[in-house]
């Protein structure tokens, strides 16, 4: 039986309680974090106050033998957006927590003394230990310390200096299969909330645990086999992603003129080819890295990788498309090694690479740095680590940075930086940026699939027609997938192959003994979005928050010279279902 662990950090000696899943029984991942935050957190509370809760939830299938089930969600009220937040990552913690029978961890309250704590989670129980010797350690240094103390059979969730400084761009790091802090719940400043709770690290030891048993082992085995075959036969999940990783997108998004360059001024970048996934993969092969690598146990897509420097030494994990765009093309930077260095710095300081890239782009817009100044950008990231006033401004994200430097072109929705697709050249993703309860988040409803990649049909990216419906359907489906613990990249195969979608349903039903249907999936997703939307409304969000910044409606984007054309009235109908 799964259970929820509640840890109250307000007590002198943090109090740990365990309780059954209760009313949250059928929820996992995003469904669980959003249900707990929406029903237990005052929407008007300050995100860094003791009233906020920091919720961790492995997905419904995490801990099982199902392929791709290693995503972990964290949820809270976001210091970046002021609304509800769920951010998920790969790595090992989801599988480890689920194998320990943990459906969720809810960290409540706030220590009054400024001490920091580590939380040990193992079969023998939960221990919350004060350990000020860990203060201000970077994620990589922290994990090295923890390895010496706990050995290598652990998974770690942690914050770096950015989280301890409670910066709104702070992430929560999750260790990968090599026990490196490379997978991040990046968006929305979730690391700042973990920092506000005084928690530096959660060390999960899954020793003496076993893979969770399905209710119907034969049915489960058969469904998982069909599911894996479906992923392997699809050209994206079977070939494109394993060979080149997510950064295979750089060239195609650039070619269709949707690659935001120079803080969303142009839709194509002259240096795109130099920082593409094809180049990354080649360098990884030549330097002894690895372009085809799984970020968690049970991954069969293996889109992550290992990036070495010019001397053949480990530098960072393979920088993802969004990272390469944010810290690269968006800032006019075309040096892949320097982008990889920035990826490492963000991981070790504990920062969202997208938010940092967008914030640095805003500083360039302000004239603080020149476009393309990679060394200047690296210096800014190091300033965040040092906690200088300038560093703290950047570390609080793009909107805060724009305000500090008097910039009027700040690409954010609900305070969160826009990711790597310009909504003027891919109108569907603009609907997702505008309407997602998470703020500007491409993963919330990845309309690029149908706008550009011709996965799940085709909707003309340069026209407004059909985009609201496209984004709505994707956001509903995504809310469900984010609850299963499945990597969202399975969606490419699910969208194109009905039998792979059926296999996923069969995995869930055979694991839990449920009879979930297609319609139940839709209702599940809708319920999550509704909870999230309701929280935001109570937090003071109006429909005016569901808009892109004005310049997207006024400044035509070369080369297509289009503006964002989806009407406000149509955006307002998004939640009418």
């Amino acid at each position: 039986m799964k259970r929820i662990i509640r840890i109250n950090m307000s007590k002198g000696n943090p109090e740990v309680r365990e309780e059954p899943m209760g009313r949250y029984e059928k929820l996992g991942g995003r469904g669980l974090t959003s249900a707990i935050v929406s029903s237990e957190v005052d929407p008007l509370s300050h995100p860094l106050s003791e009233e906020n809760k920091f919720v961790i939830a492995p997905g419904l299938l995490s801990g099982s033998a199902s392929a791709m089930s290693g995503r972990i969600s964290v949820g809270c009220k976001s210091p970046l957006t002021g609304g509800i937040k769920e951010s998920n990552a790969g790595g090992q913690p989801a599988q480890a927590l689920a194998r320990l029978g943990i459906g969720g961890i809810v960290i409540e309250g706030k220590p009054k003394d400024g001490d920091i704590y580590k939380i040990e989670v193992s079969k023998s129980g939960i221990r919350v230990i004060k350990d000020n010797s860990l203060k201000m350690l970077t994620n990589y240094d922290l994990v090295e310390r923890l390895k010496k103390e706990y050995g290598e059979k652990i998974a770690v969730m942690s914050i770096g200096p950015a989280g301890e400084m409670k910066l709104s761009g702070a992430s929560v790091a999750c260790t990968d299969m090599e026990l490196r802090p490379t997978r991040h719940c990046g968006r929305g400043g979730v690391g700042a909330v973990m920092g506000a709770k005084g928690v530096k690290a959660i060390i999960i030891d899954e020793s003496d645990t076993r893979t969770l048993e399905p209710k119907d082992p034969e049915g489960f085995k058969d469904a998982n086999k069909r599911f894996v075959m479906g992923l392997q036969k699809h050209p994206v999940t079977g070939q494109g992603l394993p060979a080149y990783g997510t950064n295979v997108l750089t060239n195609i998004i650039n070619e269709v003129g949707a690659y935001p360059t120079y803080n969303f001024k142009e839709g194509q970048f002259a240096g795109a080819r130099k920082i593409s996934g094809e180049v990354e993969a080649q360098l990884e092969k030549e330097r002894g890295g690895n372009p085809t690598h799984g970020c968690h146990r049970g991954c069969v897509i293996r889109c992550s990788g290992i990036y070495h420097d010019k001397d053949g030494h480990y530098l960072t994990k393979q920088p993802e498309y969004e990272t390469v765009w944010a810290l690269g093309g968006n800032c006019g930077i075309d040096d892949i090694d320097k982008i990889a260095m920035m990826d490492f710095l963000c991981d070790t300081i504990g920062l969202d690479t997208i938010e940092m890239g967008v914030a640095i782009g805003v500083t360039m817009e302000a004239g603080l740095l020149k476009w393309g100044d990679a060394d200047g950008a690296i210096k800014l990231l190091n300033e965040i680590k040092e906690g200088t006033y300038l560093g703290r401004i950047i570390g609080n994200g793009a909107e805060y940075t724009g305000r500090a430097f008097g910039v009027d072109r700040v690409p954010v929705v609900k305070g969160q930086g826009l990711p790597a697709y310009d909504p003027r050249a891919a109108q569907g993703i603009g609907v997702t940026y505008a309407t997602s309860p998470m703020g500007a988040d491409h993963t919330a409803g990845y309309s690029i699939a149908a706008n550009v990649l011709k996965s799940g049909g085709f909707v003309d990216p340069l026209k407004p027609e059909g985009q609201v419906e496209l984004s709505r359907n994707l956001q509903i489906a995504t809310a469900f997938i984010d609850s299963t613990g499945m990597c969202l990249f399975i969606a490419f195969a699910l969208l194109d192959q009905q039998d792979t979608f059926k296999a996923l349903l069969d995995i869930i039903n055979s694991f839990y003994g449920w009879n979930m249907t297609d319609n139940d999936v839709i209702e599940y997703g809708k319920n999550i979005l509704k909870m999230e939307r309701d929280f935001n409304i109570k937090a003071g969000f109006t429909s005016q928050k569901d808009r892109l910044p004005k310049f997207f409606y006024k400044e035509p984007l070369p080369p297509h010279n289009t503006v964002f054309m989806v009407k406000d009235g149509d955006l307002d109908k998004f939640f009418n279902w």
């Binding site: 050209p235 994206v236 080819r273 990845y446 990249f489």
Partner: protein, 83 residues
């Protein structure tokens, strides 16, 4: 010189057949007969029967019978995704 002068870009591991040479930017300048279609070009590049995304001058092409114009920049991708 008669015919259509175009530029082809290949991405995501796609390679041109022997005899079709890239310029210093890794792009392929090609001359096609008047009236050539996207399907003709796909055949010339030995990409027939492969799943592809075709982009002509920044616009996604869904009609392989579309006639090619001189000066077109045509990019080919295998199915890719990420995000």
């Amino acid at each position: 010189m008669s015919g259509l002068l175009i530029k082809v870009k290949l991405f995501g591991g796609l390679v041109a057949p022997e005899g079709i040479l890239a310029d210093k930017n890794g792009e392929y300048p090609l001359q096609l007969p008047e009236g050539a279609t996207v399907a003709n070009l796909i055949e010339l590049l030995s990409l027939k029967n492969k799943p592809l995304i075709v982009v002509i001058n920044g616009i996604i092409c869904n009609d392989y019978e579309k006639k090619i114009n001189s000066g077109d920049i045509i990019s080919f991708f295998p199915p890719v995704a990420g995000g």
